[in-house]
Symmetry: D2
Amino acid sequence: MKKQKALCRFSISMAQELVDQLDAMRKAKGYANRSQAVADMVRDQLVEYHEHVGAYEMAGTVTLVYDHHKRNIQALLTDIQHDHGDLIIAAMHVHLDHHNCMEVLALRGRAADLKDVADRLIAAKGVKHGKLTVTTTGKDFAK
Amino acid sequence: MKKQKALCRFSISMAQELVDQLDAMRKAKGYANRSQAVADMVRDQLVEYHEHVGAYEMAGTVTLVYDHHKRNIQALLTDIQHDHGDLIIAAMHVHLDHHNCMEVLALRGRAADLKDVADRLIAAKGVKHGKLTVTTTGKDFAK
Amino acid sequence: MKKQKALCRFSISMAQELVDQLDAMRKAKGYANRSQAVADMVRDQLVEYHEHVGAYEMAGTVTLVYDHHKRNIQALLTDIQHDHGDLIIAAMHVHLDHHNCMEVLALRGRAADLKDVADRLIAAKGVKHGKLTVTTTGKDFAK
Amino acid sequence: MKKQKALCRFSISMAQELVDQLDAMRKAKGYANRSQAVADMVRDQLVEYHEHVGAYEMAGTVTLVYDHHKRNIQALLTDIQHDHGDLIIAAMHVHLDHHNCMEVLALRGRAADLKDVADRLIAAKGVKHGKLTVTTTGKDFAK
């Protein structure tokens, strides 16, 4: 038998004109109701807060765009990934055109560690552009 | 007699463990209750949304750090401000040390126009660092 | 025979103390030399600039964390993806724990269109957290 | 006699097509030459880097929008400011309309301390929207 997540229902007071604007925005963004829109804001602020606090385990991605014809670029990126094997879970490789590819690495670890490995990958000779994105591991972050 | 703002009371459902984390974060940030914390998230997302949509009138600040001993820097910044007099409401000048000062301009206008004048001010020869901050005019944004 | 990319060599003047700080930062970030560090800053600012201008074709990722036990979540995400099939190139699915998974979609299109599909995916019932990351397609963005 | 800042001249190699795009962007942003555009990128990345490292003294602003008719809001904001008097240098008050005003505080201190006081001010009952902006003190940040 599957355990049900406990739902908590509480009420919020806001000025009517603010609620009207919330409703317009959440519809434009495709939220079915206010609870879902507000819960997403709460989770978003929690991710940002946990990222700053630093001690939490986070998930994330590093997105890298590079020309795979560049000598040694793939070997170099593989080396850096192996130095941080405990942080990197998986990778996806997308061909953007004959030269350019986008590689997306899925990571998991403390925010500070994710930032370190992202810095090294983005700085690697041959990487045209890179970005780190930090999100939640989903644990204790119910929906 | 002062007109009362209409308050809207509605209820939200969220998983208990998410509410627990919301409570921990809002206390750490100094919010007296959930309504205030959630209303601030709503307003924050509205500002970001309005900034992207572009047609709304926004308020904002441009923060500039420069060495006021630099030849002509103040005349140059004044010239740019006068070219956009309709956008700039006020300015504050702070002495950081013998050389460096921080100048903060208060702006009001469409987000795209605020970005244009900020770009020109930040690019001005002599400005060490600058940033644009966009916020609400407070209109229709009750609290 | 492979065509060589034309390299452009130009000189930059900066205060000595700024160059010293640049060197300290680029070493901490793992850049082999100043050219590479500066070229990365240029590309980073170009991505941000192109994202705002809006007309450029960009690449990007949407990172979604959700509980795959949630009823219909995968069917829902697949539906949204099919509505925007021209924008979505590939997807990677990572198991974070028994419940939670991170799905990363690789996208390509105008920045405004990427934002639209990201908004819909992030708003989908069951998605705990989501983020859009915009980068370059690498075209005309040599390294 | 005024001491001259030592200028450092060094050369950078970049692909021609990247330099062309840099030139187009810097002209659109109003930079007189490449040195100034690149130096601004360097300073911008240094501010972001120092903000994360945390130990540096930074300057900054907190921008607050509120309805000054709200009971006690000004007394409350003044109290918080007095609790952090060592961080707050100056303030500017702008009347946006009959109800709304924007108050901009100029701050100086460690990035973490600036964030703390900003959190408390933004969370204050009556503040509609607030933002912290961190910049350099200009020291050792020549232009």
